[in-house]
Symmetry: C2
Subunit: 343 residues, 2 copies
Amino acid sequence: MSQERRTEISELGEFGFIRELTQGRPKSIDTVQSVGDDCAVLRPTKEHIVVTTDYLLEGIHFDLSYTPLRHLGYKSVVVNLSDVYAMNAIPKHITVSIAVSNRFSVEAIKEIYEGIYLACDKYNVDLVGGDTTSSTSGLLISVTAIGEASPSDIVYRHGAKQGDLVCVTGSLGSAFLGLQILIREKQVFLSDPNMKPEISEKNSYLIQRILKPEAKRGLIEFFASNQIKPTSMIDISDGLSSELMHICTRSDVGVVIEEANLPFDEQAYTQAMEFSYDPTTVALSGGEDYEMLFTISPEHHDLIMNYDDIRIIGEIKSKEEGQKLLTRSGNLYDLKAQGWVSF
Amino acid sequence: MSQERRTEISELGEFGFIRELTQGRPKSIDTVQSVGDDCAVLRPTKEHIVVTTDYLLEGIHFDLSYTPLRHLGYKSVVVNLSDVYAMNAIPKHITVSIAVSNRFSVEAIKEIYEGIYLACDKYNVDLVGGDTTSSTSGLLISVTAIGEASPSDIVYRHGAKQGDLVCVTGSLGSAFLGLQILIREKQVFLSDPNMKPEISEKNSYLIQRILKPEAKRGLIEFFASNQIKPTSMIDISDGLSSELMHICTRSDVGVVIEEANLPFDEQAYTQAMEFSYDPTTVALSGGEDYEMLFTISPEHHDLIMNYDDIRIIGEIKSKEEGQKLLTRSGNLYDLKAQGWVSF
């Protein structure tokens, strides 16, 4: 938080505060009415609309001792856009509701909104409404994202078919390891405030993955421009194993994933070793990567191999074959869902 | 909260908990995909969609010592539907996000959802998604409502014109007085737990107004069936004065409201007297009534007088004439916005 000037939210009042946060933003062509009426009014251009919503709560989803407010705002938008892309849909609008205790100044909240608007600009979405209120403790952000798609383009979790390729984007486990570094450095700092946090070039990528993730807009554009469509898709927020199980359960299929094919970033591998974590476990259960997991017909094999960011990690099997991991040593183990536990 | 059985949310896990809350609900024809994928998928039947969202936070917006959980769930939906109706639009879908501390059992949260579903059934909307998470303190509910309308039907705050009639539905100040009774009885109970709360027939209506408000679906249906359209509209959540100022500011007009025409319920009048409150001040500034304030061309005078629930309370004037209250004694005073203060 900026130390230079501190304006209390109560000095502006609710309406002044909303004005301060939202004024001067351009309105997209699909927005008929933005902030300033009982509802926002939107003009969808495709037949179906998609809706998703996520909470970010201080003390549960983020720790402000190592989360810059701008990044927090950015991430609160991105995690919702990721869900829209996971339907193979285009996000168009968001609402942002924020509850803050009087610990937060107007300047602090404006930093969060700078991050929110940065994400809006990058992903071409329009903030059209929300709610602002005080809270008795801490900071809560609730974002709803609305997107659109033609009915024939929408990809659900339930379409995976035996023989489909199982693919993921990017690399796995990096966000989890970034979080472990931040937690460790916080402990070090709490035990000795004179210690400098050990956050260097060598692990900056991992920390960025947890604090400022990106959504997979490029992948959706790749599908559209190549006129291909996955048979099922889900974003990886809870960990690969957990998401695979959602796809298998909803599609009534089994899966075999090959350990040797799990995409692992070099920094992440080194860091897992430093923490004495098994890299495969981290890749399977890490969570918060916001990479995309999808299944696709093998006829598109060559096409998807052209896209740098995609890795084929396994194959969809019959339901009877279960959900398995084929290890480097050739053993077949049951996959376990050890995703993010919210309760 | 039910004392009979207490299931911890952690016993079910996040996905089991969501299943427990959402299973067995029928899906409306406009819902292509409900809970269970990355996004809900909706099929709008009109050209424009409208979106609104509201937070309800324990300790800020409600006090569980006098708020039944079912009513809380019901109200969390209704306050959002009220915003959709205020656009002269039809609500179709809601998402509900809920954050709960481990103080709450599965049974308690199911009571909230019973109220949510009661409102869904009554107002013909479909719960299609949300987020559930734990909180470090208390209960937070965030509801987003999505509705639809033809572009030519939508009513904004900014269309009021000089000479328009200013109308409100129902009666004003009742919810505020209901809240004052609950606060008083809580104080009595805290000072002597053996005292029975004095909540009787005589003020049951006022208490219902604060705990279980209704949204003005009938009004919107009346407009549609008579093919009339207000020039501006807003729901009364913050108090009449405050809402009038929104309409005047956005429409660039002035207004005169007649004190003698403010609709006041008999129970409310008696209760205001008992509290030694000025009834007019309560009617102007009470808040949380969820009645509708609208302006309409005088050509529709006779038609709207046929609708029992509507009262004409004043007239739109030129901006230069300001925003005034004409008292019973014939004096003209400036209206003051003393609405609900969120910060």
